[in-house]
C-alpha cells in the first residue's frame, strides 16, 4: 500500500484543494441556477435590443417592366426614408401578383415608366406606398424636365464633418462595457461570497484542523481562491462568448472588433478584481467561526464593491468626469470604473497602465497581509477574532 504514497509538492496540494472547490461548487444547485439566470439575462438583453432595432429592416419591392433607373430611384427613396430596399424583377403581372399574395414582397410596381403606374399590395401598405410614390414622382419630374430641355446640374452634396468621428462607436462600446461591468460586479459579489462562506465552513466545522495537519495555511487559501477563481473566470467567459456571439448573430453592434476588445478588457479586469476581493473576503471571513457572523466582517469590502459599481454607472455617462477619472485609479474601484472609461474612450493608455500597476501592488499587499490574518485566525475558533490579534498571533508558516 505504501508504494502508492508519496509526498506532495505544494503545487499538488493547491491543485487538490482547488479541485475540491470546483467539483463541490459545480454540483451545487444554487450555483447552477444562478449561472443559468445570468446567461438568460444576457440573452434577454440581446433579444430586447433586437426588438428595439427591428424598425430598420428591409423593404422588398417587386417590379414588372422596370429598368436600372427604376431600381436606383426606389433605392434612393428607401435611403431617404431610412429603410433598405431590395428590388425583385418579375416577368409578368401574374407571377408578381402571386408573389404579393404569398408575402414574398411587400408590394409590386407595375409599369413604373408608363403613364399610369400601379402598386399592388396585399392590404394597406402605407409605408411601401410612400416609398413607391416618392420614387415614381422623382422619376416623372426628371423625365418631364428632360423633355422640356432643362439640363439638370447635379445638386450639391452636403459633406458631413463629424467633430468626434468615434462618438457613436464610443457610446456603443460604453454600453457594452456597462453590461460587462454589471456581470463583473455580480460575479465578484457571488464568488467573493463563495470564498468567504468556504473559509467559514471549514472553520465552523473544525475540518480546518484536519486540513492543516497536512498542508500550510497559504496552500489552503491559494487552492480555495484559485479553484473558485477558475470557476468564476469560466463563467465570465461563457457569458462573454454567449453575449458576443449573440450580439454578432443578431447584428446588434456595428463594430465587432471593438465589441470583442471591450469584452476582453472587462474579463481582464475581472481577474484583477477577483484576486483583490477574494483575498479581502477570505481574510475577513477567517476572523469569524459562524456563518451568521460573516455579514459583519465582509460588509466593508462589499460596500467598496457597491460604491465602485455605482461610480461605474455614472462613468458610463460622463467618462471624463473628475469622479470617474480619480476612482478609476483607486485599487478595488478601478476594476469597475476603468473598463467603462476605456470603452467610452475617456482613458489614455498610460492611465490604464498606471491603474493596472496600482491594482497589482494592492493585490500583492493584500495577499501578504490577508494571508497573515488568515493563518493567524484560522485555528482560533469560537467568537470573533480581533484583527490585531490575528496579525500578531503565532503563525504556522
Amino acid at each position: 500500500m505504501s508504494t502508492d504514497i508519496r509526498p506532495h509538492t505544494p503545487a499538488q496540494l493547491v491543485r487538490l484543494v482547488a479541485g475540491r472547490e470546483i467539483s463541490t461548487r459545480i454540483r451545487d444547485k444554487g450555483f447552477l441556477i444562478g449561472s443559468a439566470v445570468l446567461i438568460l439575462l444576457i440573452l434577454g438583453m440581446l433579444v430586447f435590443q433586437v426588438v428595439i432595432n427591428s424598425g430598420a429592416d428591409t423593404t422588398k419591392i417587386g417590379v414588372v417592366g422596370g429598368s436600372a433607373g427604376v431600381t436606383d430611384a426606389l433605392r434612393a427613396q428607401g435611403d431617404a426614408l431610412g429603410t433598405e430596399v431590395e428590388v425583385v424583377e418579375y416577368a409578368d403581372e401574374a407571377t408578381a401578383r402571386s408573389a404579393v399574395k404569398d408575402g414574398d414582397v411587400d408590394g409590386v410596381l407595375l409599369g413604373p415608366s408608363g403613364e399610369r403606374p400601379e402598386l399592388l399590395v396585399d392590404s394597406g401598405g402605407s409605408s411601401t406606398e410612400t416609398l413607391v410614390q416618392g420614387a415614381v414622382q422623382g422619376m416623372s419630374v426628371s423625365r418631364q424636365l428632360a423633355e422640356s430641355g432643362v439640363q439638370l446640374q447635379a445638386p450639391p452634396r452636403v459633406d458631413v464633418v463629424a467633430l468626434d468621428p468615434d462618438a457613436d462607436a464610443d457610446t456603443q462600446a460604453a454600453v457594452v462595457a456597462l453590461v460587462g461591468v454589471v456581470v463583473l460586479y455580480s460575479l465578484l459579489i457571488l464568488f467573493g461570497q463563495f470564498v468567504a462562506q468556504g473559509v467559514v465552513e471549514e472553520k465552523s466545522s473544525r475540518v480546518v484542523e484536519l486540513l492543516l495537519a497536512t498542508m500550510r495555511p497559504w496552500q489552503l487559501l491559494a487552492g480555495k481562491v484559485i479553484g473558485l477563481g477558475l470557476l468564476g473566470l469560466a463563467q465570465m467567459l461563457v457569458i462573454a462568448v454567449v453575449g458576443v456571439a449573440g450580439a454578432l448573430a443578431f447584428d446588434v453592434v456595428d463594430l465587432p472588433g471593438r465589441l470583442i476588445g471591450t469584452v476582453l478588457t472587462v474579463v481582464a479586469w475581472f481577474v484583477l478584481g477577483y484576486a483583490f476581493y477574494a483575498s479581502v473576503f477570505a481574510a475577513a471571513a477567517s476572523l469569524v467561526s459562524r456563518q451568521e457572523d460573516l455579514g459583519s466582517v465582509i460588509t466593508p469590502a462589499s460596500l467598496l464593491l457597491v460604491v465602485g459599481f455605482v461610480i461605474s454607472l455614472q462613468a458610463g455617462q460622463d467618462p471624463t468626469g473628475t469622479l470617474s477619472t480619480i476612482t478609476s485609479f483607486v485599487p478595488g474601484l478601478s476594476p469597475l470604473v476603468m473598463p467603462v472609461r476605456q470603452a467610452a474612450g475617456g482613458a489614455e493608455w498610460w492611465e490604464v497602465v498606471v491603474a493596472v500597476v496600482l491594482m497589482l501592488v494592492a493585490i500583492a499587499t493584500i495577499v501578504r497581509v490577508g494571508g497573515r490574518i488568515y493563518s493567524g485566525a484560522l485555528l482560533r475558533t469560537g467568537g470573533k477574532v480581533k484583527l490585531r490579534e490575528a496579525l500578531h498571533a503565532e503563525r504556522l508558516t
Binding site: 500500500m1 504514497i5 473544525r206 484542523e209 484536519l210 486540513l211 503565532e394
Partner: protein, 302 residues
C-alpha cells in the same frame, strides 16, 4: 519510535506544558491521561504542527516531525471536523489524497475503510445526514484511510456507545498489530487500563508517571498488603519492622511495606494469631494510580 521530548508551551502567562517527555514504541498502544486542562490536547496539537512548542521537539524514528512525516500520521482532533455537506466516500477519498495517495488507490482505500467501519451503505450520504456515532466513525476512517505509520487520536472514545467503543478498540488494536504506534488520550481510565501497553499521566504540564500499567503499579508508593486474619487482636502487626498499618477493621488489615519490610514475616506473624483467610498484594487500579499521581507530584515522579 515516536518521541515527545521536553515540550514547553505557554499561552500568555498560562504555562501549559513544562517539559513533557515520553516515548511510544512501534506497535505500542499508549494511553495519555490527565485532568481537564492538563495539556493533553496541546501536546497532540504540537505533534500535528497545529501549535508551536516554545521548546522541545517531537521525533519519529529520530527525525523531527515535519510536514512530510505528518502526512504519514493519522490524526483525530478533539473537536471533530469534517465537511458537513460532502459525501462520506468523497470525503474519505479527499483525505486519502491529501495524505499522498493517488486518485485510484485513494478511492479504493476510502471504499474499503467505509466498509470496514460499517459505513458501506452510507458512502453516498452527506456527512451532516449521519448520526453522531456514524460521523465519529467517518472521522476515524479519515484518520485511518491513508494507512498511516503513526496514529494520534484525541479522545477517540468520547461519545461512543459500548458497541462503538469495542469496534474502535478492535480497529486500534489491529493498527498496533500492524506495528503502528498509537497514542490516544482518554478520561476513561478503565478503557486505558484494558487496552494500553503503556500509559502516561500528565499533570500540571509534566508527565508525572509513565510506563506500563504493571510497572506503574510496582513503583507505586509503598506496596500494600491486605491480610484478613479474623482472630488477630488489634495492633497485631504494629510492631513489625518496615510495616505501616494503613487500616485495620475487624481482622481485615491493610499494611504498607516500606524498605526493610518483609511480606513473609508478616504472614508468619499473622499465622501465629490463628487462621489467615486472605493474604495478597493489593493491585492499585489505574484510577488510584492516577489520583495519586495527580494529587502528589513529588512523591510519584520517577
Amino acid at each position: 519510535m515516536l518521541e515527545f521530548d521536553g515540550l514547553y508551551k505557554a499561552y500568555g502567562s498560562n504555562q501549559v506544558l513544562e517539559g513533557v517527555s515520553f516515548a511510544v514504541a512501534p506497535g505500542q498502544m499508549f494511553g495519555f491521561c490527565g485532568s481537564n486542562g492538563a495539556g493533553k490536547t496541546t501536546t497532540m496539537r504540537i505533534a500535528m504542527g497545529l501549535a508551536l512548542a516554545d521548546a522541545g521537539q517531537v521525533r519519529w524514528n529520530g527525525r523531527p516531525v515535519d510536514e512530510a512525516v505528518r502526512r504519514r500520521v493519522g490524526y483525530m482532533p478533539e473537536e471533530r471536523g469534517l465537511y458537513p455537506k460532502m459525501r462520506v466516500g468523497e470525503q474519505l477519498t479527499y483525505f486519502a489524497r491529501l495524505h499522498g495517495l493517488d486518485a485510484a488507490p485513494a478511492a479504493r482505500a476510502a471504499a474499503s475503510w467505509a466498509e470496514r467501519l460499517g459505513l458501506g451503505e452510507r458512502r453516498g450520504d452527506r456527512v451532516e445526514k449521519l448520526s453522531l456515532g456514524n460521523q465519529q466513525r467517518v472521522q476515524l476512517a479519515a484518520a485511518l484511510v491513508s494507512e498511516p505509520d503513526v496514529l494520534i487520536l484525541d479522545e477517540p472514545f468520547s461519545g461512543l456507545d459500548p458497541v462503538g467503543v469495542d469496534s474502535l478498540a478492535e480497529a486500534l488494536l489491529e493498527q498496533c498489530r500492524r506495528g503502528v504506534p498509537v497514542v490516544f488520550s482518554s478520561h476513561q481510565l478503565d478503557l486505558v487500563e484494558r487496552l494500553c501497553d503503556a500509559v502516561g499521566i500528565l499533570a500540571r504540564g509534566k508527565i508525572v508517571a509513565s510506563g506500563t500499567v504493571a510497572g506503574l503499579r510496582s513503583s507505586a508508593v509503598g506496596r500494600q498488603l491486605r491480610v484478613v486474619a479474623p482472630d488477630a487482636p488489634p495492633g497485631w502487626a504494629a510492631g513489625l519492622p518496615g510495616v505501616r498499618v494503613v487500616s485495620e477493621q475487624r481482622g481485615d488489615t491493610v499494611l504498607e511495606l516500606g524498605p526493610g519490610g518483609d511480606d513473609q514475616q508478616v504472614l508468619a506473624t499473622a499465622l501465629t494469631t490463628g487462621r489467615v483467610a486472605h493474604f495478597a498484594w493489593r493491585e492499585p487500579t489505574l484510577v488510584e494510580l492516577f489520583r495519586d499521581a495527580v494529587t502528589d507530584v513529588r512523591e510519584v515522579a520517577a
